[in-house]
């Protein structure tokens, strides 16, 4: 069944702040095998003009995707999450995420479409720091594949 178009434009309340820890950044950098010292060495990060170690570009997805859970799990929307795959992902950064940031995400449903029985939903996550400054916007396209007839 097609998703309710009236959800387009709906904005969900900002999430409680996520505190970015330097060990969490290190863990992520190790998991992607990236030895760039900007992720682990404060002096190296400062030499590049940052106030502390920064996170790899895609690190913030863990935070924005969790926030998008508000949308995905909204019972009124009725998205079948067991059929959801990740279609597109884009980030637009004002500055990199860094250790010590306390980040809050505001999710908005940008678009809902149905194509060949698949529900496609675009979610925009605006990420702000504790001072209210914009850090990054995450654009996430999710596709809920059509249910096959039994």
């Amino acid at each position: 069944m097609a998703l309710d178009q009236s959800f387009v434009g709906r904005t969900y309340p900002p999430t409680d702040p996520y505190e970015v820890g330097r060990e969490k950044i290190r863990e992520f950098a190790e998991a992607i095998g990236d030895p760039n010292p900007a992720y682990t060495d404060t002096e190296a990060a400062k030499a590049l003009g940052h106030s502390d170690v920064i996170a790899p570009p895609t690190f913030v997805f863990a935070i924005t995707f969790k926030a998008a859970g508000q949308v995905i799990e909204d019972p009124q929307l009725g998205l079948d999450y067991s059929r959801v795959v990740h279609g597109d992902q884009k980030f637009a950064y004002t500055r990199p995420v860094r250790s010590g940031d306390r980040l809050s995400v505001t999710s908005t449903i940008e678009a809902i479409r149905t194509m060949a029985g698949n529900d496609i939903i675009d979610i925009r996550g605006e990420v702000h720091d504790e001072a209210g400054e914009h850090v990054v916007t995450a654009f996430t396209k999710l596709v809920a594949r059509a249910a096959k007839e039994a």
Binding site: A31, I32, H50, P56, P57, T58, A62, A92
Partner: protein
């Protein structure tokens, strides 16, 4: 933010150094823990096959994270990335052996966007097992 590459030294069509990134089942378990994405299609072969996949597949976000390393290594400063977007076209299938899969990433400067902002657009190509795994893969990078 201090990219190592100067905008003035870059020309459209210039290729960035290509890289190949290995991914094994152990890599995916480690990434699941670090990212918090524990979807079983990334570590449970039985589950993956039951939902119609050929085998366990890498997290799309893992592939996205590897691909941008070609850009961040080139630019020197990962904070020089102003925009980054991809389309997940094909999964990276990760067999349960010692080799796993390889993600081969190449990239080139597609456009010089803004002489004042010193931004360029880099187009990326990510392949695995002969198939293009990311589409529309583009980054905007602010150079020195």
């Amino acid at each position: 933010m201090t990219a190592k590459i100067s905008y003035d030294d870059v020309e459209v069509g210039m290729e960035l150094p290509a890289q190949t990134f290995p991914v094994s089942r152990a890599t995916l378990v480690q990434y699941a823990g670090a990212s918090g994405d524990f979807n079983p299609i990334h570590w449970n072969e039985k589950f993956a096959k039951e939902v119609g996949l050929p085998d366990v597949i890498a997290h799309g976000m893992f592939t996205m994270a590897e691909a941008i390393r070609v850009v961040t290594d080139w630019a020197g400063d990962p904070g020089a990335v102003a925009e980054y977007g991809v389309r997940f076209t094909k999964p990276v299938v990760v067999p349960n052996d010692e080799t796993g899969a390889l993600i081969e990433v190449s990239a080139k400067v597609a456009a010089k966007l803004d002489d004042d902002d010193r931004t360029v657009r880099v187009d990326l190509t990510a392949m695995s097992a002969g198939q293009k795994v990311l589409g529309m893969s583009r980054a905007v990078v602010r150079l020195a």
